[in-house]
């Protein structure tokens, strides 16, 4: 007796269309901000179009809207077929879909408005972040209930990867979004300084692992053999690389923090596990490529297979480059440069993008029951996209390595050869143009795909229905029917499988992160470190709001050339009250950890109004609105109260008198500026708070409060 049922194809269509739409938005934003780095005028002088605000929108759109919706399309389509059942609940599927799109729209509105937590890829403010957590629960319930009502005893490897994705993203996202609200659109993370940095990069690195890798491997394991009509090469390889990948990936986060104030041991652990990651990552590539044995003649003709082969190759390249960049001496050169941006785009454009394109070209004709409009256009898309990706990668390799070498260059007397930071920027601006051209090519290919797919869908026959299927119901598990080998038995027990997966990712998580909770976040009590004044704290929030951290680091690494350029390397204690930390990950501009006192207030004022007045050739946007927008002094008291709750040592009086104190400090700075010709009334403006913050950076160290 077979059950008859229909797959929910409508939900796969919905997610697929969403991917295609948001992908265009993400890419367009990417091209725009790439151009802004080549020519600052494209910041347009408006707050909501400036680089610091749009860059988070681009990354969030690419990861959560483009890749995210793509992953959901793949999971909803393939899981139903692999489990021989319709999704457990159509309603939950739709709540997931519409909720996710609502989150994306909310992000698209709030990020340009400057409403951000200021942690990369976790920028969304708490109401949205927690909506994401809620939606993830909806998705997880729907998925695991579907596992329960399945008609296939054993779980295919694609499903293993989906399970790992759902479980781990839940742990990562919840852990990294524990924040205390100050107002509806402003919150502070509970972690600070080193601890915040470690948790952030544990999250950030594993967002790459569990949003951009594991679900895509699952996707590959379904769509590649389907498209190639070939059996999967090695079941045993699947087992080995699944478990090793899941277990090892979670440890590698600290390789984002080499030579920083993170304790040495944690850095070394991060490097060691990054090296071990090569083989587990390559396992997926190898299994995919070997699955194509006997189908290579078709790769030449079929765009779907071309995209998959290129994607796996880029994946292999990126997962070799990653461990390479984790080695301390390579990180010393490459970190903070465009090499890292190139590295991530090898994955994003080459791996994630191409996997989704391959999937879309395969899926649209099947979901809409009509052949692809034009194979020629799809082939053209492949070559344009490929050329775009290679152009992008090569330009940023050259840019990153050039700039890294220039930063580190010293002459025989030990002096920096390029002491002016801007010199190192001007050298790579031409490469920013080349990168932009690469991005534009990639985007053109994308548009070609959209046209092709729209024309395909328009030819779809009327009244296409959800696909019908039938399968015998699941027989209860017995030792006999679970299969002989232990892993085979495990594949028949989703509950146990899920628990083991969770344990695999918790080992690294707990061993790396738990120590920060017992050691005061690795920062010894240091009375010499003073909390920010209310005005400085408010200025810091403006720094976060404007996304200055997308171009500036605040973490001087323990490297000779860096210490020469910026001053003594940063100590853990210096950021112990920083909720969130602002160490940054990219130096499009110089490090700011010790910029306080380097210039007079007037310098900062004029620099923020128009950087090129003081530093010819600078590519920093101008921030003239900061001199026009009034400081919200009233909120400062609430900010201090929340910080006090988080353990920052403010006295009750600091909180009570916060507003008056802030006004007094603003008046002092404002008067100084006015005496030198700045227009009267400047003390009420936001620029003064920002200057207060900038001048404060590194002060504890200068005053001898930190050793």
């Amino acid at each position: 007796m077979s059950d008859k049922f229909r797959y929910d194809d409508d939900i796969s269509k919905k997610f697929l269309l969403a991917t295609l739409l948001w992908g265009a938005v993400a890419l367009l934003l990417g091209v725009l901000i790439a151009t802004q780095l080549a020519d600052w005028r494209l910041n347009l002088g408006l707050p909501w179009t400036s680089f610091g605000r749009l860059r988070p929108l681009h990354t969030n759109a690419a990861i959560f809207a483009f890749a995210g919706n793509g992953v959901f399309a793949a999971i909803y389509y393939s899981s139903q077929r692999l489990l021989k059942t319709r999704m457990y609940s159509d309603l939950l599927s739709r709540v997931h879909f519409w909720g996710w799109q609502a989150v994306i729209v909310a992000a698209a509105v709030t990020l340009p408005l400057g409403l951000t937590v200021g942690k990369e890829y976790a920028e969304l403010e708490w109401p949205i972040a927690w909506a994401v957590n809620g939606l993830w629960v909806v998705f997880a319930v729907n998925f695991f209930q579907t596992l329960r009502v399945r008609r296939e005893r054993h779980l295919y490897v694609a499903i293993w990867f989906y399970i790992a994705t759902i479980v781990t993203v839940a742990v990562l996202h919840v852990m990294n979004t524990i924040q205390i609200p100050v107002s509806f659109w402003k919150s502070y993370p509970v972690y600070a300084g080193v601890q915040d940095a470690l948790i952030q990069w544990w999250y950030g690195h594993n967002a790459v692992a569990f949003v951009l890798t594991t679900p895509f491997l699952g996707l590959m394991y379904y769509f590649l053999p389907k498209a190639a009509e070939r059996p999967v090469y090695s079941y045993r390889l699947s087992i080995v690389h699944f478990w090793s990948l899941v277990f090892i990936y979670i440890w590698a986060g600290p390789h984002h923090l080499l030579y920083t104030a993170l304790p040495d041991w944690a850095q070394t652990v991060g490097v060691a596990f990054s090296l071990m990651l090569i083989a587990p990552s390559w396992g997926g590539m190898i299994n995919g490529l070997l699955t194509l044995r006997g189908a290579w003649d078709r790769v030449r003709k079929e765009p779907v297979l071309k995209f998959f082969v290129a994607a796996l190759t880029f994946y292999g390249m990126a997962t070799f480059e990653g461990p390479l960049l984790s080695i301390k001496s390579v990180s010393a050169l490459g970190h903070y440069t465009d090499w890292i941006v190139g590295h991530v785009h090898g994955g994003a454009l080459g791996w994630n993008g191409f996997m989704i394109f391959g999937m879309a070209y395969w899926l649209v004709p099947r979901l809409w029951k009509t052949p692809l409009y034009s194979t020629g256009m799809a082939n053209a898309h492949f070559w344009i996209g490929f050329l775009g990706t290679v152009t992008y990668l090569v330009s940023l390799w050259v840019a990153g390595i050039t700039q890294g070498l220039m930063w580190g260059a010293t002459d025989i007397a030990g002096k920096l050869v390029y002491p002016d930071f801007v010199e190192t920027v001007l050298r790579i601006v031409p490469l920013y143009w080349v990168r932009m051209a690469g991005g534009l090519l990639y985007f053109s290919g994308y548009l070609l795909m959209l046209v092709n797919l729209v024309l395909t869908v328009r030819r779809a026959p009327a009244g296409v229905q959800d696909e019908a299927a039938s399968a015998p119901p699941l027989v209860p598990a017995t030792v006999g029917n679970l299969g002989g080998r232990p892993h085979r038995m495990l594949e028949g027990l989703p509950g146990l499988f899920t628990v083991l997966t969770l344990l695999a990712i918790l080992v690294g998580t707990v061993l790396e992160i738990a120590p920060t909770f017992f050691s005061g976040g690795f920062a010894p009590e240091t009375p010499g470190v003073k909390p920010y004044t209310g005005l400085q704290l408010h200025g810091r929030d403006l720094y976060v709001r404007e996304g200055c951290y997308t171009c500036h680091s605040q973490m001087i690494r323990a490297l000779p050339a860096e210490v020469k350029r910026y001053g003594e390397y940063s100590r853990a204690e210096e950021s112990m009250y920083d909720h969130p930390f602002q160490w940054g990950s990219k130096r499009t501009g110089p490090d700011l950890a010790r910029v306080g006192g380097k210039y007079p207030d007037l310098w900062h004022y004029r620099h923020m109004m128009e950087p090129r007045d003081l530093v010819p050739g600078s590519i920093m946007p101008s921030y003239s609105w900061l001199a026009k927008d009034k400081t919200d002094f009233e909120i400062i008291a609430r900010k201090l109260a929340v910080m006090k709750k988080l353990g920052v040592p403010y006295a009750d009086d600091d909180v009570r008198l916060a507003v008056e104190d802030a006004r007094r400090e603003a008046r002092r700075i404002g008067r100084g500026l006015e005496a030198q010709g700045v227009k009267p009334g400047i003390e009420d403006m936001e620029i003064v708070a920002l200057i207060a913050y900038l001048q404060r950076l590194g002060e504890d160290f200068r005053k001898g409060g930190v050793k």
Binding site: Y222, L277, L559
Partner: protein, 196 residues
């Protein structure tokens, strides 16, 4: 695919089929297994070297680098006979040397003009063309201010960033600014110095 390959595949099948996808039972390629063990071994060795063995901490690494540089500086100083601080007379002479002055002008326009104006008329920093000086009007004073800066007042120290001959050149250029009286000059600051 040849008939032989097909037969091998039948033998190799696990018998698992999911939605038409069959899984074969090839062993993982040996080179893959070797790479796996090797990278795990390298990872463990890396950890052991730095955390158990003699590998330096990043603090020690930095210190060692600095010591090496100090030594290199000393030897290069010894080799060059050491560059000594120029005297007032030497600086005065440089101030009259057009070569020195034009080299200094180039440094001035990139490093100093943002605060002192293109022609030294002042702006964020004081006017350098008048006869008033905060830190003394002798050229050795000027040389010292440029080298050491006045960090609390926002005049950066240039000693670590510029070569000595560049500081000398820019001092010569500042000397040449005296009395040029450019338009838009900032009001005088500091003490009046009648004669240099």
């Amino acid at each position: 695919m040849s008939a032989k390959e097909k037969r091998i595949e039948e033998v190799k099948s696990t018998g698992h089929v999911y939605d038409g996808i069959e899984e074969l039972d090839h062993p993982p390629p040996p080179w893959f297994v070797a790479m796996f063990y090797l990278t795990v071994a390298i990872g463990l060795a890396y950890y052991a070297y730095y955390e158990i063995g003699p590998g330096p901490t990043q603090g020690q690494e930095l210190q060692a680098e600095r010591r090496k540089e100090e030594l290199a500086e000393l030897t290069s100083l010894a080799a060059s006979g050491g560059s000594k601080i120029p005297s007032e007379d030497e600086l005065q002479a440089m101030g009259k040397d057009p070569g020195r002055r034009s080299a200094g002008a180039a440094v001035f326009s990139t490093k100093c003009a943002s605060c002192h104006g293109n022609r030294g008329e002042g702006g964020i920093g004081p006017n350098l063309t008048d006869r008033h000086w905060i830190h003394g009007g002798r050229l050795t004073d000027v040389f010292n201010v440029i080298t050491q800066g006045v960090p609390v007042k926002g005049m950066p120290p240039w000693g670590a960033l510029l070569k000595q001959e560049e500081v000398e050149g820019v001092t010569a250029f500042v000397a040449s600014l005296a009395g040029t009286n450019p338009p838009g000059g900032k009001a005088p600051q500091g003490e009046l110095v009648e004669k240099r």
